[in-house]
């Protein structure tokens, strides 16, 4: 028995559908515009110099960002070394060992840390690393970014470990493995695709962070020695060049933006593909 739907209701239905569709199209077109503009403008500004040369003094053209690219790599490496193990192991604790109320408290604190604005973490890293050490350094920058990596490391680890089916664990225990052995040799490898993709997304997120690096890593026109010297990084270079008045520097800022965005997007897409194809997807 079909009910008659009045014209006005049908109209509203169609209208709202179209309206919401338009909103979506608007949002997606902004994305395409951003990516497109950056691609075109950035790619045309890329040249071999950009990847191989050091920045030139003000007013001279033809410099590059070789040191900033490597610099970003070093700082991110430090950040991963500082932030991921702590976050990962804490996630293991939450997923495997912790009781309910304690876990709730920890999760709340971790969320708190996640919500701290990145500039505030930069201030703390300045106070904890730069001031006592008496210099700006890649270490300070890595500390700031590492702290930012912790909350997501905890959350993804906990989520993916919990998603490992109980029967896998029980099987291991039935074979006489201790809890620790089970965790580290059975559960974690079972969740490895999710964990990897989570870490990649985490890395992509902090790769673009600029604010915490402003007063921790500072910047460097030369190659930075080791990890205890000021270091140039891509995002900070983009910021500095973008607000300068020189056209040549603007071009380099676009090129750097292109490189950074491509890096971030490639990591994101790969991470999602890993999840989509991994065992956790098949389990769902």
């Amino acid at each position: 028995m079909m009910m008659e739907i009045s014209t006005s209701r049908r109209f509203i239905n169609g209208f709202m559908l179209t309206l919401s569709g338009i909103c979506t199209v608007l949002v997606v077109s902004v994305l395409f515009f951003i990516l497109g503009y950056l691609l075109i403008h950035g790619a045309t500004s890329l040249n071999w110099d950009f990847f191989t040369k050091l920045p030139k003094p003000a007013g001279e053209t033809g410099g590059g960002m070789a040191n900033a690219i490597v610099g970003s790599g070093k700082v991110l490496l430090l950040a991963t070394v500082i932030g991921v193990p702590i976050g990962f192991l804490a996630g293991v604790f939450l997923a495997e060992y912790s009781g309910k109320t304690f876990a709730f408290a920890i999760r709340y604190v971790v969320d708190l840390l996640n919500g701290v604005p990145s500039i505030v973490i930069g201030i703390v890293a300045y106070a904890l690393v730069v001031r006592p050490m008496h210099h700006f350094s890649a270490l300070a920058g890595g500390t700031a970014l590492g702290i930012m990596m912790i909350p997501i490391a905890v959350r993804t680890t906990e989520e993916f470990l919990r998603s490992v089916p109980v029967n896998i664990r029980e099987g291991a225990m039935a074979l006489g493995a201790t809890k620790a052995t089970t965790i580290f040799t059975v559960v974690i490898p079972a969740a490895i695709s999710g964990l990897t993709s989570g870490m990649m997304l985490n890395l992509a997120r902090v790769a673009g962070e600029t604010a915490p690096l402003l007063f921790t890593a500072l910047g460097n026109q030369y190659w930075s020695k080791g990890y205890l010297a000021p270091i140039a990084t891509l995002p900070v270079m983009i910021y500095n060049y973008a607000i300068s008045p020189e056209e040549d520097l603007h071009k380099q800022a676009w090129a750097a933006g292109f490189v950074l965005l491509t890096l971030v997007l490639v990591i994101n897409v790969s991470a999602r593909l890993i999840i989509a194809r991994g065992p956790s997807a098949q389990r769902r």
Partner: protein, 323 residues
């Protein structure tokens, strides 16, 4: 608590298994190490709060809470007040949300309810990539594309129609609260869409089927049944996005005009807490100057904690309802 019962269990086993056998098995060590990492995170957060609190004492002792109400910002005279920055932070974030929320929720409705699944998945994937774009790139695009575009295409018609309103008066120089608000909305919208879409998809299909069976149109089902059901989750996503907008630094400082003044007009330049810290922290010397900046950082920190907490409450309520 499982932790204590676990310890009890272990202690009980002390007599039944050899010490070295357990050590080899690694249980105590892994428990202790993971516990240590967890505790260290707690310590890190406490350290952050302590550092912020301790370093802002100078300002607190000198000005007290009137610091938050004062609009003076005069490093020369050592007079500081946080009001222009709090104002700018709130105005830009609020503006960003006003634009982003209707757009975002509407788009999420489309993606969750109306669009064919394949299209929805592709579009969602693309939108989540938008969320991954670093903020300095938004700033870059803001300075070179958005601000000139707003100046050329948005403000003239806006002023001709609404120019009599105090929020649109004054000359527009490009760098302004309006520009910052628009950039923030672009940054925050993908976030709202992806979380809201998930929340909407999580609404049990029985609810929809019941409504449709009673003869409701798709829109009516969505608006009257699904949306209210998912509303707390959507509010949660809105608050999370708000927290993010409040703390956003680079994109804002590149387009907001960096002027510590309070003005009713959105077309005038402004400042935000995160932006002033980014600009002035590296050179602030003098205890009162630095501690004023850090006091504001503490205020921002507190604000984001509160908003995140509200968001959490909303999200937990949704989850409870879902189960």
């Amino acid at each position: 608590m499982a932790a204590t019962s676990y310890i009890a269990e272990t202690l009980g086993r002390r007599t039944s298994r050899g010490f070295f056998a357990r050590l080899r098995g690694g249980d105590e060590i892994s428990y202790l190490i993971t516990l240590a990492c967890t505790v260290s995170i707690l310590l890190i957060v406490c350290l952050i709060v302590y550092e912020l609190w301790f370093n802002s004492q100078a300002t607190f002792k000198t000005f007290g809470f009137s610091f938050l109400k004062s609009s003076a910002w005069d490093p020369n005279a050592d007079k500081y007040g946080a009001l222009p920055f709090i104002y700018g932070t709130c105005v830009t974030a609020f503006l960003g949300m006003i634009i982003a929320v209707p757009l975002g929720v509407a788009a999420s409705i489309f993606l969750a309810e109306m669009a064919p699944p394949k299209l929805s998945n592709i579009l969602t994937f693309l939108i989540e990539l938008l969320a991954a774009v670093p903020s300095v790139i938004y700033g870059l695009l803001g300075i070179f594309i958005l601000v000139p575009a707003i100046k050329a295409y948005l403000v003239p018609p806006l002023k001709s129609v609404f120019g009599f309103l105090p929020i649109f008066e004054g000359t527009f120089y490009g760098l302004s609260l309006l520009s910052a608000g628009i950039v923030l909305s672009v940054m925050v919208v993908p976030f709202i869409i992806s979380v809201s879409r998930e929340v909407l998809l999580a609404v049990p299909v029985e609810q929809r089927e019941a409504a449709l069976a009673l003869g409701a149109t798709k829109w009516e089902t969505t608006w009257d049944i699904v949306l209210p059901y998912a509303s707390t989750g959507i509010f949660g996503s809105i608050f999370l996005a708000l927290a993010r907008a409040l703390g956003e630094t680079m994109a804002v400082t590149m387009v907001v005009g960096n002027t510590p003044k309070i003005s009713a007009s959105l077309l005038s330049p402004g400042y935000s807490i995160a932006a002033v810290i980014a600009n002035e922290f590296a050179e602030a010397n003098g205890d009162l100057y630095i501690s004023s900046l850090i006091f504001m950082a503490l205020v921002l920190f507190g604000l984001t904690i509160v908003i995140n907490a509200i968001a959490r409450i909303f999200i937990m309520t949704t989850q409870k309802r879902g189960s």
